[in-house]
Each structure stands twice: as structure tokens, then as C-alpha cells.
Amino acid sequence: MADASFGFSTLQMGELAIGKHVQYILSVEKKKDSFESVVMDHLRMNGAYWGLTTLDLLGKLDSVNADEVISWIMTCQHESGGFSGNIGHDPHILYTLSAVQVLALFNKLDVLDIDKVATYITGLQNEDGSFSGDMWGEVDTRFSYIAICCLSILRCLDKINVEKAVSYILSCKNLDGGFGCTPGGESHAGQIFCCVGALAIMGSLHHVDKDLLGWWLCERQVKSGGLNGRPEKLPDVCYSWWVLSSLIMIDRVHWIDKEKLVKFILDCQDLENGGISDRPDDAVDVFHTYFGVAGLSLLEYPGLKAIDPAYALPVNVVNRIFFGR
């Protein structure tokens, strides 16, 4: 049966093994008995966000014990207001966003002392408008996105200097229309997502040359249908998110071949054990499972909840934040 608007035909393409992926994520979340999981213990907060958002997109968020997760999250908050990757680690802006996003998934933002979190983040903005990751001062446009996304979710974006935040991001714009990690840094799809997402949230997308950037982004699609992150590099499922969400935010997603991208993502599944990998036949991980499913959601693959391209949260969660409980 064909979907007339996008020409999808279930006879032509493979299927998303939803049940297998749910099983895979739950096994990673619950039984961390592999050495691989242990070495990722410091970024468990990110892992929670990737795993739980995927479950929500697949309609299975209720498979986890929300209270357990929430109480663990709160034990990761430090005096400064920031969250760490796990218990016994230092706070960082990366994990602060993931913590807030997971609480949003469970509709539990009210457990937060919002001022406390906001203070941590606003304290990380520098004179030039950029953001540091933590007290150690690393600067990267990733942190600009994180700060802006997080404060926006907490409805207190006005606590930072928005004008300077915008001008710093624009100072990272390159001649190809893309953005890098710092001024002069090479355009990279991940950094582009961060800059475009931040500008979108701050209502400043008019600064983006959408035609020029849209063309650079659509050139990321390679023969196999997958997307790479920079010219002449290999495709990777995670770019299905970063390139795709950027294209959607600037209204140019029709410039790629959506069907071919769907097929590429589906080919990256491990149909036996569940999970999605960076490219076909490689080992799976939660990171790529999330990006593959999120990418399919953006491509309106049937059976998935819609995801917001700027906030990287299900649309119903974003609506709940901004338009009432």
C-alpha cells in the first residue's frame, strides 16, 4: 500500500524492527553488565536521553520506571545547579541539557529548582556571547545550542544575553553557509545543527543564507542514500539527524531524496539483536539507535511519534512545555 504523499511502498522498503530496538534499549538501560557500558558510565545521562527519547518515539516510554530514573537524575545535580554525567562525576553543560530533556519526557520539569539550573547555565556565558562547557572554559558552538535549548525549555531564555549569543554564533558562519565549532572552524553538520537550532530557538533564522546552506546540506547525501557530515567523508546514521533537522529548520528538506535516506537508515539495523549502527554491518550502539529512529521520525516514517527538529524532543513534549500542561 503506497502513501501517496511520499511515495512510500511497503513492498519496496525494509521495515523498522520496533520490537527489537525497544528490547535492545531496555537491555542497555537495565543490565549494564558489559565492559562497553562501564566505560561509558561517565556519560550515562546522555545515554539516558538517547535511550528514553527513542523509547518515547517508539511509543514505549512506559516500559521504564520513571521514578527510578528521576531520582537518579536528581542525585546527579550539584550545588552549582549543573548536572553530571553520572553519580560521582563533575557537572557539565552537556549533561545538564540531557537531564532537563529527560525530565521533560516524563513531564517532571517541576521537580527542578529552575533558578538554580538557570544560574549554572547563565554563569557559563562568556563576554563574547559564547558558552563554556563547564568551569574549565572549553568553548564550542555545541555549548551555545545546549545553553539556549535548555533555558528555552525552562522558559527563561531571557536570562542570558541573547543578542551576544546570536552574534557569536554568526561569527562562526563560513563561506559555504555552514558553521564550525569556533570562528574559522570548518563547517560540520553537527556544528551546523547546533548553530541553526540555536538560531531557530532564538527566532534568528533570518541570518542564515538558507539557499546556500541548504545546498551544502543536500550535497551531504551520497550514492547509498546516506548522509555524511562534511565533503568527501563517509555517511553515518547520526548525520540523518544533524543534516536532516537542519534542512527541516531552514525549509529545504525537499532537496534530498527522502526515500533513499529511509532505506539507508533501515539498512543500518541489526535485525537480530536490535539497535542501529553508524553504517550497514557495523556494531550497534544507543547513540546511533537514537539518531536513526529520530531521523526516521523526521522523515515521517509510519508508526513513530513526531520529533521537534530544534529541541530534539517529541513534538507533544514540546507542545506540553510551551502550550500548557
Binding site: K30, K31, K32, D33, F35, S37, V38, V39, M40, D41, H42, L43, N65, D67, E68, S71, W72, T75, S84, G85, I87, G88, H89, D90, H92, W136, E138, N174, L175, D176, G180, C181, T182, G184, G185, E186, S187, H188, G214, W215, W216, C218, E219, Q221, G225, R230, P231, E232, K233, H254, W255, I256, D257, K260
Partner: protein, 306 residues
């Protein structure tokens, strides 16, 4: 001064030095889930690290412990943080620290924590280590000429410590090795626009146009020099369009390969559009079908032929 990293991997519980410390096991939170089976050395090292971290012990043995922990798991950012806290009061040899980081970098060249730690050390050592840094980054780029972290670090070193003199030559060398290396083209632009020795974009434009045109003629299918050319005329598209050298390059392949263009047009029912630009967009719509919508849009944007 730290002892060699090769402490034989002796279990810490057997070393006299650690006798006074009670290792702290992983805290899985108020509602612990299934128990975790760790690889023994890793578990033990991290248990001792947690004890030291909690006690905020900034001693030589703490420094050695962070080295051990980093070898076992260089992604653990908290260990890197703590190492910095220990390095300072101990007045450690930071040149040795650079060597340590380099050894970890050999198998972890895309690790954010490592590069940031390196920057922290270099900040404290200053211009003395400039040459060494630029050399190290070159060696990492020789293994992976597009390593984003390495390039980011290189840009920071140039801006913080200088060393611009040979950078354009370095870009040249990399492009000779791989003219498709987008990172090298990006660095070229970085040098041309920011080097205090070159006079800026306007001064460099003529020579850069010549270089870029050569690159285009050698590999017209390389997207990098085409974009670079646009970048050279960033705020001055008029000059780009009116540059005779450039327009002859752009039109030359089109005129020479007009027959090829005609041959690619496979439609029997529709004639090839007399306007070349329109015809090309029409062809690309079919030949580069993944981006069909883009080429249709491009065609519609073309000025109507007189």
C-alpha cells in the same frame, strides 16, 4: 615527578602505598538496579579513584592514579578534571604532561577531553611550545588529515601563540597530497584571511584566484575549490562575475563539453533548452536525481534568457 606509567598493573590493594585508603565502589543511586560485573583492574582503579576524588587528595599518588585511570578510560572527563586539580599544586613538569597526552592521543585522537586538557597545558607553557604543538598536530593530521579536533586545536595555537609563517605552505602541501581535503581548504581560507603576515583577503585575492582556478581545471568535480572561489569574493560578487579569468574557466568546460551535455539529455519528447544554464539544470534534474528538487528550484531562479 611521576614514576613511569608502567607500574606493572599491580593491583592497588596489594601496594603498600594505598594501604590507608578505603576504595569506594560505584554508587548506582538510591534504587540500585542489577549489579554490575566490571573488568577487575578497571573496577579497582575506579574504586580507588572515587576515594581520592571524594577526599579531594591532591598528592603524587593521586596524580599517578589519574594516569592509570586515563589509560583505562580516556573518555572519563571527571578524571581529567581532577588531574588538573592535582597538577597545579604539585608544580608538575608540564612538558612531560604533553608527552603523556600525546601517548594517549595515539589511540584516542578524537577525544574531546584530551584536546581540551592539552590546551590547558599549552596555555601554561606559552610560546615556548608553539613549534612542538604545531609539529604534533601535523603528525596527527598525517594519520587523519581531516581530524576535526586536531584542526580546531591548530587554529587555536596559531591565534594564541602565533607560528603563521609556514601555514600557507602547509596547506599547500596537504592539498598536493589530497586536493579534495575540505579541512585543508578551510585552513587555507583561515590563513589567508587571518595571518598577520599576508595582508588579508583583498591583498591575497589575485594569487588565490590563480591557485583555485588551477585546482578547478585539474579536478572540476571537486566541490571545494568552487566554494573557495565564492569565498574569495565574499562581499563582492560583482567582481567575481566580472573577472574574466574566472568566467573563461566556468564557461570553458561547458563549451568544450557541449556535446557531452547534449549526449546526457535522454528525453525524446522534450528538446534541449537553448539556454545552457537551463539545459544543465534540466539534465542534472535527471542525472543527479537525489537532488532533483534542488535543480528544479535552481532552474526557476535563472534569469529569463533574452
Amino acid at each position: 615527578m611521576e614514576s613511569s606509567e608502567d607500574d606493572g598493573g599491580e593491583p592497588l590493594s596489594r601496594l603498600a602505598e594505598w594501604r590507608d585508603v578505603t576504595p569506594l565502589p560505584q554508587d548506582d543511586g538510591p534504587n540500585p538496579v542489577a549489579p554490575i560485573a566490571y573488568k577487575e583492574e578497571f573496577r579497582e582503579t575506579m574504586d580507588y579513584f572515587r576515594a581520592i576524588y571524594k577526599a579531594d587528595e591532591r598528592s603524587p599518588r593521586a596524580l599517578r592514579l589519574t594516569r592509570r585511570a586515563i589509560h583505562l578510560n580516556p573518555g572519563n572527563y571527571t578524571v581529567w578534571h581532577f588531574r588538573r586539580l592535582v597538577l597545579e599544586p604539585l608544580n608538575s613538569d608540564l612538558d612531560e604532561e604533553l608527552d603523556f597526552i600525546q601517548r594517549i592521543a595515539n589511540s584516542n585522537s578524537k577525544n574531546y577531553q584530551l584536546w581540551h586538557h592539552r590546551r590547558w597545558v599549552v596555555e601554561r607553557l606559552g610560546t615556548n611550545v608553539r613549534a612542538k604543538e604545531l609539529h604534533l598536530i601535523k603528525s596527527i593530521l598525517s594519520l587523519d588529515a581531516k581530524n576535526y579536533h586536531a584542526w580546531s586545536h591548530r587554529q587555536w595555537v596559531l591565534q594564541a601563540l602565533g607560528g603563521w609563517e609556514d601555514e600557507l605552505d602547509y596547506c599547500q602541501q596537504l592539498l598536493e597530497e589530497d586536493i579534495f581535503n575540505n579541512s585543508a581548504w578551510n585552513q587555507r581560507y583561515f590563513v589567508v584571511t587571518r595571518s598577520p603576515f599576508l595582508g588579508g583577503l583583498t591583498a591575497m585575492r589575485a594569487s588565490e584566484v590563480r591557485y583555485t582556478v588551477e585546482a578547478i581545471l585539474a579536478n572540476p568535480n571537486n566541490e571545494c575549490p568552487w566554494r573557495y572561489l565564492r569565498g574569495l569574493y565574499k562581499d563582492d560578487i560583482e567582481s567575481l562575475v566580472n573577472n574574466h579569468e574566472i568566467s573563461s574557466v566556468c564557461l570553458k568546460p561547458c563549451q568544450e563539453f557541449r556535446d557531452a551535455v547534449v549526449a546526457l539529455w535522454t528525453s525524446d519528447s522534450l528538446p534541449l533548452d537553448p539556454d545552457l544554464a537551463t539545459a544543465i539544470c534540466g539534465i542534472l534534474e535527471h542525472v543527479d536525481s537525489m537532488r532533483a528538487s534542488y535543480w528544479i528550484w535552481r532552474k526557476n531562479k535563472l534569469p529569463v534568457a533574452a
